[in-house]
């Protein structure tokens, strides 16, 4: 009889323990659920929206950068930003229509560092001759408030023409734009 009672008590205790664990888990999940965020949290994670962007040419700053690199970066960036599909209009610098865009954001770039590298060296040694370009990317909204301020680096390490650096850079900036807006 005692044996039966002992086993019954053990079973009851284990059931209570399991139920306690289950309830604790359910309540803790409900409390921290992302489905019901506070209004403050919602505000901080809200992405800025803009229907148009204007892209300014590279400001070389104090760093020497060849004109064809500047042009290649600019044209690649225009293409990549258009590909994101985040904006109805992607305006070039100086475009008169940009002035009438109501929620225009402006992207500007300043050269931080530039290393031309060597395609030949890359192909022969595969460890040296990498090309690199680092630009400070600054995006401001129509009120002049900074939305993005980051250093972005474009690289080509192994194979490929130096032109790939500008493509790599533009892809990275387009990703930032995609994540930001």
């Amino acid at each position: 009889m005692e044996k039966i009672l002992k086993s019954h008590t053990r079973t009851t205790l284990s059931v209570v323990l399991v139920l306690t664990i289950v309830f604790t888990c359910v309540f803790s999940l409900a409390a921290g659920s992302p489905a019901a965020p506070s209004s403050d949290d919602a505000k901080s994670t809200q992405k800025p929206s803009a229907s148009s962007i204007q892209i300014q040419p590279i400001d070389p700053g104090d760093v020497p950068i060849p004109p064809d690199f500047r042009v290649a970066v600019y044209e690649n960036l225009i293409t990549q930003i258009q590909k994101t599909g985040k904006f109805q209009h992607v305006y070039r610098s100086g475009d008169k229509d940009a002035a009438s865009a109501p929620d225009l954001v402006t992207l500007s770039m300043v050269t931080q560092s530039f290393n031309k590298g060597s395609q030949k060296k890359r192909e022969v040694t595969t460890v040296s001759g990498s090309s690199q370009i680092t630009l400070k990317v600054h995006i401001t909204d129509h009120a002049g408030k900074t939305v993005v301020d980051r250093d972005v680096q474009g690289k080509v390490r192994f194979f490929g023409e130096n032109l790939r650096v500008t493509y790599d850079f533009s892809k990275k900036v387009a990703k930032i734009v995609n994540d930001t807006f």
């Binding site: 004109p67 042009v71 008169k96």
Partner: protein, 182 residues
């Protein structure tokens, strides 16, 4: 019947007169046609080069397309089988070639100077030394900034730059002086 006899015949004279009246306007029309052909050299390309590669920045032309680059009148024109791209010389803000000089650049053109110091007296660029890179910066009809890069055989970009400067295009860096022939 001899020709003299025919000429004295009144019917023949009348027919000749009729033909003269009919053909007179056509004789006068020939003059403007000739003057039009005298204008023709303006539309004939002054500098032209086939097998040029447009690397990037051709709005209507795909990147890496091969075509003919020419200066027609005051227009820089790139033509492929499928499309044509035209840039008015006065809308060109700046041009760069591998033949640009690094001399005579001081003060205000410091930025341009900074773009040059990669070895020797020539601008090195995106591609190997075996080609000439012709970079053109210009504005479209709406004022928008554009840049286009052409890849040409070695030493072939300078004539285009020279011609476009003569047509009103701007260039912050002058071409290197040609070596004197001994």
């Amino acid at each position: 019947m001899s020709i003299q006899n025919l000429a004295t015949k009144p019917g023949f004279r009348a027919r000749g007169l009729f033909l003269l009246v009919i053909s007179a306007p056509f004789l006068f029309l020939a003059a403007p046609a000739r003057s039009q052909t005298s204008d023709a050299p303006q539309t004939t390309p002054s500098v032209t080069l086939p097998n040029v590669k447009l690397v990037i920045g051709g709005d209507t032309v795909k990147n890496n397309a091969t075509g003919t680059l020419s200066v027609v009148g005051n227009v820089l024109q790139f033509t492929t089988d499928k499309a044509t791209m035209q840039v008015q010389a006065p809308s060109i803000l700046d041009m760069f070639t591998n033949e640009d000089s690094r001399q005579d650049i001081t003060g205000a053109a410091k930025v341009a100077t900074m773009a040059i110091p990669y070895g020797g007296s020539r601008v090195l660029s995106l591609f190997s030394h075996g080609v000439d890179v012709f970079t053109v910066e210009f504005t479209d009809a709406n004022g928008g900034y554009h840049g286009t890069i052409f890849m040409l055989p070695q030493k072939m970009a300078a004539p285009f730059k020279k011609q476009l400067v003569a047509m009103g295009a701007k260039a912050s860096v002058p071409l290197a002086p040609e070596p004197e022939n001994k």
